[in-house]
Amino acid sequence: MYAEHFSEPATSHVASAPIEHQFYPYASNGGTILAIAGADYALLAGDTRHITGYSINTRFRPSIHTLENLGGPERAIVVAANGFSADGDALVRRLAQRAEWYTYNHNKPLSVSACARLVQTMLYGKRTFPYYVHTIVAGLDESGRGEVYSFDPVGSYEREQCRAGGSAASLLMPFLDNQVNKKNQYDAATGLPQVATDLPLEETLKLVKDAFSSVTERHIHVGDYLEIKIVTKEGVKVEYFPLKRD
């Protein structure tokens, strides 16, 4: 079947390709993030493990950032940019600066939706040399409802009820679809698909902790501690939860 190709010289371009050395500007630092919006809260969670390859750089490197805002503590915006952590840090630092300038220039709080649009322009501004991150922005809208925006590395974004990002996003997302958005669940009495309702904060917190402890079991990049930042009308609360360290 491949007989005609056997005449190829023994030193084909596969084996005899010249050795190339090139600088690769990106790295992957592991970790996973997760955001869920509720009726009166928004929550952004992420593990604190920071890795390269098979090594742990640190077990505790909090990665959920809070942007202080005009209009009181309830207008605070939480941000996480997961992937290549140096790019994530650079993006969040610049975003914090731009958010501050916004309040000086307009003398009003930066809304989460405006912040999301700003993140889009910042990400797309580096379209030809992207920030290697999956970004999530969360907070409360003007009416006090939770909102979550998620972005790809070059700025495509969407408002969502919940979103997972980072190393173990593919493990978390189906669980979230099922438990938060009630996908593939039917009502036993009526036979109709169950409809997603806003989960109370207590339930969501349990869900998030279970999600991360489960993902820690099966993904080697996730572990050590879980950091959860919750935005309510009282402001931003931080919670830590221990994860397995192996």
Binding site: Y54, N184, G191, Q194, E217, R218, I220, K244, R245, D246
Partner: protein, 274 residues
């Protein structure tokens, strides 16, 4: 004559060039160690098996029995470790029957290294071989290309640096059995905590002279999963289905009762729930 078949070499090279690379075997991250003590030798391993960054098995067995008194810890390509270990174990048994003697560790070592050298590193087995024979307790390591090392303490696998750090700082000559077991367990734990390729539990095998080898499966379990915060039991009827058909699995057979006897179960009462 044994050896790999290279019939598909040209074809595979062509397919690789076309964008169909040869699938890679799973090289599992692992920590394995071995340590000698007065009157025996102990080997230990972690129990995590990975497929890339996903944990494939949380409690796999990396300790292989070569003969009743020779055991082997394997790192590298999981399938190669398993198969090379099985093959040499068989040949060792045949050798033992033909000589009428219990096999020696050096015999096992030589058979393994000659097999691995023949395959020029393509059989990706990295092994720590240990055991007791009439010449005393023995401890060796073998690399996939066939080179071997002798030592009082050894470590191999992706967690070998973490384990060796422990061994180098805590090892001392003429240890007791318990000291050697503790040292090995601690070295494996260093791999479990600090190497992402290693995790879960510690398996251990202790081989003492003139005693049967003892396998301590899950000698330490420092990674027990905590209880979940929520229950995820779905109520009956949650899953949709298109149609329902019930079939009896066993056809009822007509029979008559001729006699029925009830006998006591003896002194012990049958356990009844509640």
């Amino acid at each position: 004559m044994g050896g790999f078949s290279f019939d598909n070499y040209q074809r595979n090279k062509f397919l690789t060039a076309k964008g169909y690379p040869v699938p890679t075997a799973t090289a599992t991250g692992t920590t394995i160690v071995g340590c000698r003590f007065d009157g025996g030798v102990v080997i230990a391993a972690d129990t995590r098996a990975t497929e890339g960054e996903i944990v494939a098995d949380k409690n796999c067995e990396k300790l292989h029995r070569m003969s009743p008194n020779i055991w082997c810890a394997g790192a590298g390509t999981a399938a190669d470790c398993e198969m090379v270990t099985q093959l040499i174990s068989s040949n060792l048994e045949l050798h033992a029957m033909s000589t009428g003697r219990a096999p020696r560790v050096v015999t096992c070592l030589t058979m393994l290294k000659q097999h691995l050298f023949k395959y020029q590193g393509h059989v990706g087995a990295y092994l720590i071989v240990a055991g007791c024979d009439p010449t005393g307790p023995k401890l060796f390591s073998i690399h996939a290309h066939g080179s071997t090392d002798v030592g009082y303490y050894l470590s191999l696998g992706s967690g070998s640096m973490a384990a060796m750090a422990t061994l180098e700082s805590k090892w001392k000559s003429s240890m007791t059995k318990q000291e050697a077991m503790d040292l090995c367990a601690e070295a494996i734990e260093a791999g479990i905590w600090n190497d992402l390729g290693s995790g879960s539990n510690v398996d251990m095998c202790v081989m003492e002279v003139n005693k049967p080898a003892v396998l301590h499966r899950n000698y330490r379990t420092p990674n027990e999963r905590s209880i979940k915060q929520k229950s995820y039991v779905f109520p009956r009827g949650t899953t949709a289905y298109l149609n329902e058909k019930v079939k009896p699995m066993i056809k009822p057979v007509a029979y008559d009762i001729f006699e029925e006897t009830v006998t006591s179960t003896g002194g012990e009462q049958m356990e009844i729930d509640g």
